[in-house]
Structures are given as C-alpha cells and as structure tokens.
C-alpha cells in the first residue's frame, strides 16, 4: 500500500519534529522544509498529497506560498495559524487553502484535519463523475440522506426549510472542514447576496434549535468565531 505524502513547511524545529513524529507513527510519509523557498522546492519536486503550511515563515509570506501553489496545483493545503488572527485565516482560505488548524493543537485534531482534507481531495474527483450515489452523512443520531433530501435525528424526521436544508447539506458534504461565512452565503444566496452575514446567523440559529439537543452545547455544527462554521466529521 502506498503511503500518503505530507509536506510540512514550518520554521520552528520543535513543532516540526512533533508533527513529523506523530505523522510518521500514523503511517504517513513526511517531507519538510524550514523556510518558504525550500518549501516551494519540495512541493514542486515531490507533489505531496497534503501540505501543512505555517503562515509565519521567515522568508516568504504564507499567502504568497498558497498563491504560488494554487497557480499550478490543487494539492490540499492546511494552514497552521495562531488563534487570534481570524483575518489571516479567512484570507488564507480565500486564497485557496483548504482548512486551517489553530496553534496550539493536539495530535488527534491534526490527524482529523489531514484525514478530512485527504477525503475531500478524493470526493471532488468523484462528484465530477456524477453517477456515483452520494453516501449519507451520519454522526451519532443525525443522518442526512442527500438523495432523499431527508434529515433524521434519532430516527425522527427533522423539518427544515429549503434554505436550512441547503445549509445543512452544504456543511455535511464538507463535514470536518471549515466553511467561511462568505463561501456559505455565496453558495446559498448567490454572488449578489448582501454580504451582511446576519441572515446566515439567523438561519444557523434555527437549524441549531432543530437538530441540537442543546443549542448552547452543539454536537454537530460548531462555530469558528470570525471565520465560519464546521460540521462534525461524518462517521463514514
């Protein structure tokens, strides 16, 4: 079985070695670079399956690396960023990064992100095919059947409005991955929608009241303040 290759571009040696040893233990092949220039070189020569990119590199701005990679490839990029820099996260996602992970992070979180990103790398290819039936989303008691357009919670049908269903299915199709406010608004209300995201918040609040046991302690849909929403990864 061939291993997935993960490229890490990170200038802090301690963080690098911790990520590297974790990933190697989980059967990933790891290549790394300590600065942006070397990073771009190893990406273009190895074509890794996922890129882990620290935004605060000494030589090149992280955004430039994302732009550079996106100019010739769709290799998934996970950005490593500090908690307080929401603007930076949103900008990185806008530039084409697939997801981000906030420093400091645990190994389980990192592995989940990589898994999700790899899965999405595949799913985008299969959707072009078209004839493949989409597998339902399932986590704990929540099941979303994309074919029947049906949402059930512990066996009971949840009644969602058109918009609410669109939002939930959008999140579920990208489960485990963060979706920015702008991305969701564009997707549901179209590119000319008012980009005041209050309408999105209101709809999300309604959804939360319908599918979460306690809207204050969500199990399925999580908020990433200042960035967007993330749905719990599907069990499949």
């Amino acid at each position: 079985m061939n291993k997935f290759t993960i490229a890490i571009i990170e200038d802090e040696k301690n963080i690098l070695s911790f990520i590297e040893s974790t990933l190697q233990r989980h059967d990933y092949k790891v290549i790394h670079a300590l600065n942006g220039k070397d990073g771009l070189a190893i990406i273009s020569s190895n074509c890794p399956d996922v890129i882990l990119l620290d935004l605060g590199l000494p030589d090149i701005d992280g955004m430039d690396i994302i732009r550079n990679v996106r100019s010739w490839s769709a290799i998934p990029i996970i950005v490593i960023s500090a908690r307080t820099q929401e603007q930076e996260k949103v900008a990185a996602l806008d530039y084409g990064a697939d997801d981000y992970i906030t420093k400091p992070f645990g190994t389980s979180e990192l592995l989940a992100r990589i898994r999700t990103t790899l899965r999405h790398g595949k799913s985008t290819i299969s959707t072009i095919d078209g004839s493949v039936v989409q597998a339902p989303y399932q986590y704990k008691g929540l099941v979303i059947d994309f074919v029947k357009r049906l949402v059930t919670l512990n066996g009971h049908v949840v009644h969602l409005t058109q918009i609410e269903y669109k939002l939930v299915s959008l999140l579920a199709e990208n489960s485990g991955r963060v979706l920015t406010y702008d991305f969701m608004i564009n997707h549901i209300w179209g590119p000319y929608a008012d980009n005041n995201n209050q309408i999105l918040r209101v709809n999300m609040a309604h959804i939360r009241r319908k599918i979460e046991l306690n809207p204050g302690e969500p199990n399925y849909i999580f908020t990433e303040i200042g960035v967007g929403y993330r749905m719990q990864e599907s069990e499949y």
């Binding site: 908690r83 307080t84 929401e86 400091p104 645990g106 005041n196 209050q198 918040r201 209101v202 999300m204 609040a205 939360r208 009241r209 306690n214 809207p215 204050g216 302690e217 969500p218 999580f222 908020t223 990433e224 303040i225 200042g226």
Partner: protein, 361 residues
C-alpha cells in the same frame, strides 16, 4: 525656559497688551470727554496694567504697559492735552506707583504660574510613578505566575530524561501529564496577556462585530473542554437569537477565565452552569458554580487582582487575580458591567454587554 519666549507667546503678549491698553484708552476717553471725570483715568490704566500682568507671560509686558500708560495719561488725558509735562504736581508719584504695581503683579502672577507648573509636573510624576508601580506589580505577578508552571515543566522533563529507564510506565505518564497540565496553564496565561494587548493597542477600544452570543459561548465551552474534559458545563440559551456587537475572541476569553476560575476555586466537581438571557438593552451572562463561594471581604475588590494584592500569597498561584482583572478590563472596554456574588449554592459571576442599536453594517 524663561529666556526662550516662543513666537506664539510673544504674539500673545503683544495682543494682550494692545487690547488692554486700547480698552483702557477708550474707557478713559469716554470718562474724560463724555463723562467729564478726569480723576479716574489713572485707575483705569492701572487696572489695564494689572490685567496685562495677569494674562501675559513674564515681566516685560507689564512694565512696558505701565510706561505706555504713564505717557498716555500724561499726554492725552491731562491738561494740557497732547503735551508731555512730567513736572506736574504729584506726577512722579503716579508714575512710580504704576511702575511698582505692574512689577509686583507681574512678579506675583509669574511666580504663581511657575508654581502651578511645578505642581502639575509633580502630579504627573506621581501618576507616572503609580502607573509604573502598577506595571511593576503586574509584571512581578505575571513572572511569578509564569515561573511556577515553568519550574514544573523543566523539573518534570529533566527528571524524565534522567530517570526514564528506572521509572514505571505509570510514573512516566504522570510526569508527562503534569507537563501537559502546566503547559496548558501557561497557554491560558499567555492568551490572557495577548487579550490585554488587543485592548491597549487601540486606546482601550475594541473592534466590535455583531456576533451571536450562543455561538460565542459554545465555542468558549468547546475550548474549555479541551483542557478540562471532565468538568461538566451546562449552557442555557434563550429561544430567540441574541446578537451583540463585541470582540468575540475577548468575550470568549472572559467566559473561559470565569469557567477556569470556577474549576480552580470552587472546590467542587459539580457542573458549572452558564445562563444566557436578554434583558432591556443588554445581554446577560451568568456563570454559576456549586462550590464554596467567595469570601465576603474579597468580593469588593475581586476584579482588581494584581493591584490590591502586590504580595500575593502562595494559594493564589493559579493567578485568579490576573484572570479576573483581565475579565474586568475586557468587559469595561465593551461598556458592559461585571459583578461577583454568592448564592446559597455557590458563587455566581455575572456580566452584561450592551446590545447596541440594531446596526446592520
């Protein structure tokens, strides 16, 4: 400082002098040629000289003004008009009196101004010193708070490295667990400090955006659970969506600080509850624990943290003071209020945030 009269001061002095003298001349003119009371002319000029001395800087304007006044009185308002006659009866006395009065007034006002300046400077120095002392206290408290976990981390890791071949797996796990606990604590500390810089950066102002309070609370609880997976938190939200303009990162920090405070200081493993409610004009957050409560004598200054406890005792090593005072700073910057109190079942911390106008940006 005295020698370097700035251009601005010079202009000001000339203006004051000219204005007062012109006014005096007009008044005197009216007195003499309309009212017919030439005796009061000297008094009017004297008043002008006093005013000039009071409102100008330095001695020069007063002296110059008194000289001009004497000439004016003599030349214009004393018979024979338009002729200088210094040999008149009692004239030298008027002249000398004006000179002396102006000099004394100038000297007094200059002296007063000088003293005022000194007092101001002293007050400023004192305030600076107080601020400096506060900063020093804060720094001392922080360094102390930072050193404690660091000592633990360094100690545990070196003990692991030196003795790992003779230790049981359990002991090893214990040491690493301690390292993780201390490191997590350091992280909270650093995030608190970062929060403060986020406020201070722009003059105690925060960049607000409209956020849904339930989302902010649930994210805060999620982050809190990463560190304390075993502490139960019960969140109650109102049926309606409440949106409040705020810096969500900072409010999250407040909620996490209050939750951690409950974990460390309630001496209880019972669940902590967060209740969100909407009241007239503001959103209200109640964080309740089922612990031992807060000592009554600490209630009044519990949010002052480091300022009132410069020599903090060992039991506060978890830095409650700084966490709470940061909560206060954050809430104040949002124009909200934060209070602490005791209920029959434990302590309750309540903070409110103004809802603001229903602004749609």
């Amino acid at each position: 400082m005295k020698n370097t009269m700035t251009k601005k001061e010079l202009v000001w002095n000339i203006l004051v002098t000219l204005f007062a003298l012109t006014l005096a001349t007009i008044v005197s003119y009216l007195l003499v040629f309309v009212g017919g009371h030439p005796t009061n002319v000297s008094i009017v000029y004297m008043m002008a000289v006093v005013l000039i001395s009071r409102y100008s800087n330095g001695y020069v304007p007063g002296v110059v003004a008194s000289f001009i006044s004497v000439v004016c009185v003599n030349l214009v308002f004393t018979y024979p008009y338009m002729h200088l006659n210094f040999a008149m009866d009692g004239y030298p006395i008027t002249f000398i009196a004006l000179m002396v009065i102006s000099s004394i007034t100038s000297a007094t006002t200059t002296h007063l101004k000088h003293q005022n300046k000194i007092i101001h400077e002293r007050e400023k120095l004192l305030m600076d010193a107080e601020k400096e002392a506060m900063r020093a206290n804060l720094l001392r408290a922080i360094s102390h708070d930072l050193r404690t976990p660091l000592t633990g981390i360094i100690g545990a890791s070196s003990s692991y490295l030196e003795n790992h071949h003779t230790m049981t797996e359990e002991e090893k796990a214990g040491l690493v667990g301690d390292i993780r606990e201390d490191a997590n604590w350091l992280l909270t500390m650093v995030e608190n400090l970062l929060s403060v810089t986020r406020i201070r950066g722009s003059k105690a102002q925060v960049t607000k955006s409209l956020e849904s309070v339930e989302e902010v609370v649930s994210e805060a609880v999620l982050r809190f659970h990463k560190r304390f997976p075993d502490t139960m938190v019960r969140v109650t939200v109102p049926d309606e969506l409440v949106m409040v303009p705020m810096d969500a990162t900072l409010i999250e920090q407040v909620i996490i600080n209050l939750l951690e405070n409950a974990v460390y200081h309630s001496n209880s493993k019972d669940p902590v509850s967060i209740t969100l409610s909407r009241e007239e004009g503001y959103a209200r957050f109640d964080i309740r624990d089922r612990g031992i409560g807060i000592e009554p004598d600490r209630l009044s200054n519990i949010f002052d943290g480091y300022t009132s406890f410069p020599n903090r005792s060992v039991d506060s090593h978890k830095g409650m003071g700084i966490g709470l005072s940061i909560c206060k700073t954050i809430i104040t910057a949002h124009n909200g209020t934060i209070t602490a109190g005791n209920e029959s079942s434990g302590a309750v911390f309540t903070f409110t945030l103004p809802l603001g106008e229903n602004i749609c940006e």
